[in-house]
């Protein structure tokens, strides 16, 4: 079993208003899409995808609740607990790859964008957010290929929802892989587009988790566990899903809308 490691933060970088990157050294090797259980002592332990996979590891977190708010007050030298990595990785396959990121979903997929580029794939990224001041890792993505921006409010780039821009690109380009991470309804729209055109696809899902190691059943998703069978699922898996884009489970295991 993976051991909990207590690590000091090396730096805390504000990416945009409510989204910060926390970086640290940890004795673990992880692939693109894998996550850690991150303990914010005294507050909570949460699953977080790695946004930096090199010698210095990093997580990029949207401040949205009590625990992440507490984390946002952490400074270099402050201690967090990490265990993992857990879950599978994005499959780094395809000659021409479209990566569609929505909001903080970019934090999970940026490592895959870089891995596709490193593997020799031609990468096109759609980076979407509610507004221009919520776009993260644009420069990192640009180093890997073309980047198309969409914002719901039109403050930058394409004015409208991310999947609408993704559709234009899919229709216009010969992609042989689509990868996505972001709000689940957005991902469902993107996966449906890829499925309709017979393009292999994959999406990284997020669910409430307790154990992270495939035993507690908190992150049950259809016949799968997001922590152990995912978090990355293929279009072929998702097309058969009843839960994708519609149902998640709360902390008590009750089915609730996504």
């Amino acid at each position: 079993m993976a051991r909990l490691e207590i690590v000091p933060l090396l730096d805390v970088v504000r990416e945009v208003h409510h989204t910060l990157t926390y970086r640290f050294l940890a004795g673990l090797e992880a692939g693109p899409g894998q996550f850690l259980m991150v303990w914010i002592p005294g507050h909570d332990e949460l699953p977080m995808a790695l946004s930096y996979l090199g010698e210095v590891k990093g997580i990029t977190v949207h401040t949205y609740g009590d625990a992440t708010k507490a984390l946002s007050e952490f400074r270099p030298g402050d201690l967090v607990g990490v265990r993992g990595p857990y879950g599978n990785t994005f499959r780094i396959e395809g000659k021409r790859v479209l990566c569609v990121a929505g909001g903080t979903g970019m934090a999970s997929i940026i490592a895959a964008i870089e891995a596709f580029h490193k593997a020799g794939s031609e990468v096109v990224t759609v980076l979407g957010a509610k507004s221009a001041d919520e776009l993260i890792f644009e420069e990192r993505a640009k180093k890997c290929g073309d980047v198309h921006i969409s914002t719901d409010d039109g403050s930058r780039g394409f004015h409208g929802f991310t999947p609408v821009l993704a559709k234009e690109l899919i229709d216009g380009g010969k992609f042989d892989m689509v990868a996505t991470c972001g709000p689940e309804r957005m991902m469902k729209a993107v996966i449906d587009l890829a499925l309709a055109r017979g393009i292999p696809s994959q999406a990284s899902l997020e669910r409430y988790m307790k154990c992270g190691i495939g035993i507690c059943d908190a992150c049950a998703f259809d016949d799968y566990l997001v922590c152990a069978d995912g978090p990355v699922f293929t279009g072929e898996q998702l097309v058969k899903s009843h839960d994708f884009g519609s149902v998640r489970r709360d902390a008590s295991g009750r089915r609730v809308p996504v």
Binding site: L4, E45, A220
Partner: protein
């Protein structure tokens, strides 16, 4: 070919392995998946009268010797759990319902509902070491164990299996109390009350501070408890605690267990733990030309 099927208080199991309560058993699809992966039966997450979210994370600590948990009995509540049981039963799973509550009445009410959903047996979680006012105190009183068992027996017709705590000085007395209350079988053991502290942070890791230790570290304790219970009662015993291999299961069987449960091994062997353990059991039996696993129950007693 040696026979691995067993009968526990009238419940016929294709093999002696069961899924231990608390693992992959909060949803119908997961329970079915475990059954299809080879478990003889699945025991549900402990279900109470109302939905319950459990404790904040961290709720588990991974250790070299096993695992600590203080999940805090999360469950969707008996009303919503009906749909989950149905999914598992419709797929053909053998489901045993685990229950907890704040008093004997609550245990009996939840047990009755679970039985009405189609659970073929009821396991009483009388021993969760990390839920305030729920089970912990019951586990420390032989009279309460007898009373709670009798209360549930009075409400259901399916077999009732109290699950006992090892956090007592004389577990055999608790097994006798359960038998006096009408228990059809005894499940032993639940986790051991334990703690892990982060030296760097100078604090317990679990949010609840205390947790239950499971996994290989507790197997010798579980085997000892089953051995003592076997000498004290006539009802069958289901052994649980740190079973990862067929040899581990045989220790429990020879101490007196008629069936065994697997939980923490899912973290190390995955869902194949059930097939692995049953095939290892079968190989042991066939090599020694043992006709049936039941021939070995209690074999270590003189």
């Amino acid at each position: 070919m040696s026979d691995l099927s067993v009968d526990i208080a009238g419940i016929r199991l294709r093999n002696p392995t069961m899924l231990a309560s608390g693992f992959l058993d909060e949803t119908g699809r997961s329970m079915l998946r475990v059954y299809q992966a080879g478990a003889g039966a699945v025991v549900t997450k402990s279900i109470g009268p109302q939905p319950r979210t459990g404790y904040p994370n961290p709720t588990i600590v991974e250790l070299d010797v096993g695992m600590l948990n203080a999940i805090g009995l999360p469950n969707p509540g008996i009303e919503e759990f009906r749909d989950e049981v149905k999914v598992a039963l419709d797929g053909g799973a053998v489901v045993i319902g685990s229950v907890f509550g704040k008093d004997a009445d609550e245990y009996a009410i939840v047990a009755k509902r679970l039985a009405s959903y189609g659970a073929v047996g009821i396991e009483l979680n009388l021993s969760c070491p990390h839920a305030k006012g729920l089970g912990t105190e019951i586990a420390q009183s032989t009279e309460a164990v007898r009373e709670f068992t009798a209360a549930v027996k009075g409400k259901v017709t399916v077999p009732v299996f109290p699950k006992l705590s090892p956090n007592v000085s004389n577990i055999a007395a608790f097994a006798q109390a359960a038998e006096d209350g009408g228990a059809d079988a005894i499940v032993a053991i639940n986790t051991l009350k334990a703690m892990a502290i982060s030296p760097e942070l100078k604090m317990p890791i679990l949010s609840y501070r205390y947790g239950g230790l499971s996994g290989p570290a507790i197997r010798p304790i579980g085997v000892r408890c089953v051995y003592e219970i076997f000498e004290a009662v006539d009802v069958p015993i289901v052994g649980v605690g740190g079973i990862t291999t067929g040899r581990d299961a045989l220790e429990y069987v020879m101490a007196g267990a008629r069936a065994i449960q697997i939980g923490t091994a899912l973290a190390t062997r995955g869902l194949s733990a059930f097939v692995d353990v049953t095939s290892e059991l079968l190989a042991f039996l066939e090599e020694r030309r043992v006709r049936s696993i039941t021939d070995l129950v209690g074999a270590a007693h003189g």
